[in-house]
Amino acid sequence: MMTMKRISIDPITRLEGHGKIDIFLNEEGDVANCYLQIPELRGFEQFCVGRQAEDMPNLTNRICGVCPEAHHMAASKALDAVWKVDPPPAAKKLREMFYSIFFATDHTTHFYALGGPDFVVGPDAPPAERNILGVIKKVGMDIAGKVLKMRRDGHHLIKLMGGRPIHPNWGLPGGVSRGINEEQRKEIEARGREAIEFAQFSLRLFEDIVLKNTDYVSLITGGVYTHQTYNMGTVDADNRLNFYEGKTRIVGPDGKEFIKYDPKDYREHIAERVEPWSYLKFPYLKGIGWKGLVDGMDSGVYKSTPLSRLNAADGMATPLAQKEYERLFETLGGKPVHHTLATHWARLVEILFATERWVELATDPEITSSEYRTIPTETPEEGIGCVEAPRGNLTHHYVTDERGILTKVNLVVGTTNNNAPICMSVKKAASGLIQKGKVSEGLLNMVEMAFRAYDPCFGCATHSLPGQMPLRVNLRDPQGEIIQTLSQFIG
């Protein structure tokens, strides 16, 4: 059928500093394969081995400038397990409240700065206008103040609880280093109530601008951005979504539960495929097997995104978010929803859930308790900590000697979970726009929208890329020769 040979792609150098996509055409000039390459930091495990495990919440939160709090939390939970200590209830509640504040803040930034502009300003608008300034122009000045307030409040409360403005130094094996007093609790509650209103406002904005526009709805539900894969999410005892703790649940493309397991058993259920053309591994479901970058019940590919979390849960644990959850599935034709662009909507539902949970916990009588740490007494050994990070499931796995010195470190981050579906989404978007060797206008934009929905963390590292989502696409013939290069935001 296809004569394409495998071509290994040159590593991206950090000097280029941008994501690179190679699209291979077959003899007919149609898309045969798409490879997404992203730069990755090196040597984190070696950097950590030999250090004290207690340092990990403060080291790993520097890995990622986008979600330091997610790494901080996964690391703290891994340390609980390493020292075999169960934090007291107040500590768990404080951690989850902190995490909910972070989640709402991070999702807000993504929606208004990156994901939202594609819809609010319009998918056909020039890239230079598809930003928050374009959103303001269309929606009004108020929005700028609202978004900046949400961020300011979130950062302020994270500092108030986490101890430092930059990287929190709060999580410890067995709990946290400090609690909150009544005055602080009141402030957290007040900001949380305003945050709920902001989340509701954001959902109304999405309804008015996106859902009332049939073109946008067609774009969301169209085939270009749809993939029938397995969906992963963390759920509580009632199978409702939880960001901080629970069981990992995976539902099939048909929406039925495939498996539910304790995150500490992840290696029994998730394997990692290594492809010679990518630094980044491709996790897949062991119980299904690796069939390549393909859809369907027989392919072990899964998604770990805001949308996949909604698909994997039976509902939301808070009332307002539950209503929005129901509306999303009713509007898009029932569960599960496989339309990648609906991830932006799911993100807004998650903001509402995070803000409601934030207030629930801020009004919990136990939240100001002074019992926020259990002192570990066991000998440290091995531990796994898992949370849902904004961009997908995040797992930290540490092994130590009897002194608590790290001997092994493994991290599975959100973007890695989504490596296969991101490549598949990019390929599908490209396939629709390249036919018989001809490239339609808007290829870069459509490809960018495909992977922007996942908000991939390039390298899951604190370094950022110059410009706005710099992207280079190489079109290659079956022999691997570059026919055409398209790029944007590469100065």
Partner: protein
């Protein structure tokens, strides 16, 4: 005039820490200056803009990769900002963020008072406690350059 001197970077990624190391040196030297605050952060875009609120002037020190010799010092303005952290793939670039802040009525320094000092990095992909020797050797010159900017308000050349 209230000035913020801000090092951007990551302490645990080789040359990506250079902006922080220069800022740490300056923090010691400028400890008695009431009109200058020296600080650090890790992220560009919106977050960087939010850090600049309330200052009349800002000098931002960051790693940069242009292909020049490691340790080379570059001068940049907010309109031309290819440094490591002054842009963000997860939110927005600095000019957009500054525009947003100004539209929202935040008190930001004017663009001409936002000076970026970029130090050419060699390795920004490896986790390490230290810079490469070539880049570490540029710390005294970068410190000098920031002190000169504080005094004159414009680059040496």
């Amino acid at each position: 005039m209230k000035t913020l001197v801000l090092g951007l970077g990551n302490w645990i990624v080789a040359d990506d820490s250079i902006g922080l190391r220069v800022a740490a040196e300056l923090a010691r030297m400028l400890a008695d200056r009431d009109d200058v605050e020296v600080s650090e952060d890790y992220w560009g875009g919106l977050r960087l803009m939010e850090r600049l609120v309330g200052y009349d002037r800002a000098i931002v020190i960051d790693a940069i990769t242009t292909g020049a010799a490691p340790g080379t010092i570059h001068h940049l303005t907010p309109d031309a900002i290819p440094t490591q952290r002054s842009a963000s793939a997860h939110d927005m670039n600095l000019p957009t963020a500054l525009e947003l802040g100004r539209q929202a009525g935040l008190g930001l320094p004017p663009n001409r008072e936002i000076l970026l000092v970029g130090i050419e990095a060699k390795d920004i992909l490896t986790f390490a406690d230290q810079c490469t020797p070539e880049v570490a050797a540029a710390i005294p010159a970068a410190v000098e350059e920031v002190l000169r900017l504080l005094q004159t308000g414009s680059p040496a050349d």
